[in-house]
Amino acid sequence: MQVTLWGTRGSLATPGPETARYGGNTSCVGVVGREGTVLVLDAGTGIRRLAATIPESVRRVDVLLTHLHMDHIQGLGFFAPLYRPEVEVHIWGPGSATLRLQARLMRYLSAPLFPVNLSELPCKLTFHEISSREVDIGEFRVCSALVCHPGPTVGYRISAPEKGVLTYLPDHEPALAVLRFPSLPREWTSGGTLAAGADLLIHDSQYSAAEYTGHCGWGHSSLNQALDFGTLTEVKQLVPFHHDPDHTDTDLDRLMAQAIEETKPAYQVTPGIEGAIFEL
């Protein structure tokens, strides 16, 4: 599979010269299989540019939402395939205890927040509630599980038929309420089973270690925690992701180097930079 980062920023789109290299678009990752299956992980502002790369011949696109915080759905209304009648768009994501996924998304894609209502979109639109389950989408096996983040939030583990496992945990706080992280085995750690042995783990790393102490319970990880999580789950490569809007390119370079020096991961760490492509 080919994995492309189209949006790596967390919380708020952050364009500007000081974030030009890591990128300012919010969470969106494209996955294309060898047989042509197209998956879109989250619909942050990066999804607009992703849409422009989908060939005209593609007739089905699956959008996998981890949760419905604004930075993960803001680009959805600007996703070109939604306006093509010949395209099937399948949107997967968590419902809540009281509202189905479609109703939850309607809160954004309706007045007064958006001019086009979900029901007016010309594509063939299907919604799939997903929490903890396994499904086959095209050539991929997709496993999802609820993870630690405020509100219903899932992570995804995507396996290609012959080889290659991608785990996507963009908003994740596995260290919440754990006195010393990581201290428990991975089956007792949020997201641990999803990430176990993954070839590529894309993981929340919003804060520096110092910043995390002031943001416990906000649903995110420090860079050091992300690296420690990678060690716990024995991944082969980690992409720190969901960068804080206040972190400039210079800040991120410094924080990455510092975290790697402190945690000394035995696997490869590749900074989450918009436009980066990974072949698994």
């Binding site: 929490s131 903890s132 630690c148 085995p185 089956e187 089973t193």
Partner: protein
């Protein structure tokens, strides 16, 4: 290695780890998958040493009797009621671990229900009266 745990169970363990009340967490089969430090006193064992325990093993660690000191059958114990009926169950009982003193405690067992009404297990809280 034990089986992967759903996030609700992981969070229940983390909450129990930071509370001073004795708490036991079981899975859908009644296997004791976690107990916190205050509960270690009741079971007279440490979770780090025992790990998970099947229902017949952990429930045999202590005797339960009703207010009149009549023994309470396994199937009538609060945790088993919460598991079988999937409803909260609370009862004041006498409890004894090994040859120690009888304790007068209230036991409340709560089923843990996840999204989509998925039954995940139960937790039991002890409260000395």
């Amino acid at each position: 290695m034990s089986s992967p745990k759903p996030i609700q169970i992981i969070l229940a363990r983390q909450l129990a780890s930071s509370l001073a009340m004795p708490i036991l967490i079981v899975d859908t089969e009644g296997t004791l998958i976690f107990y916190n430090e205050p509960a270690e006193v009741i079971l007279d064992q440490r979770f780090d040493e025992t790990g998970e325990m099947p229902a017949d093993v952990w429930s045999g660690r202590f005797a339960l009797a009703d207010e009149a000191r009549n023994p309470i059958a396994q199937e009538d114990r609060p945790m088993m009621m919460a598991l079988s009926e999937r409803k909260p169950y609370s009862r004041t009982v006498w409890m004894r671990c090994g040859h120690r003193e009888w304790l007068h405690v209230n036991i409340t067992a709560l089923p843990l229900i996840g999204e989509g009404r998925q039954f995940l297990g139960a937790q039991m809280i002890f409260w000395e009266v």
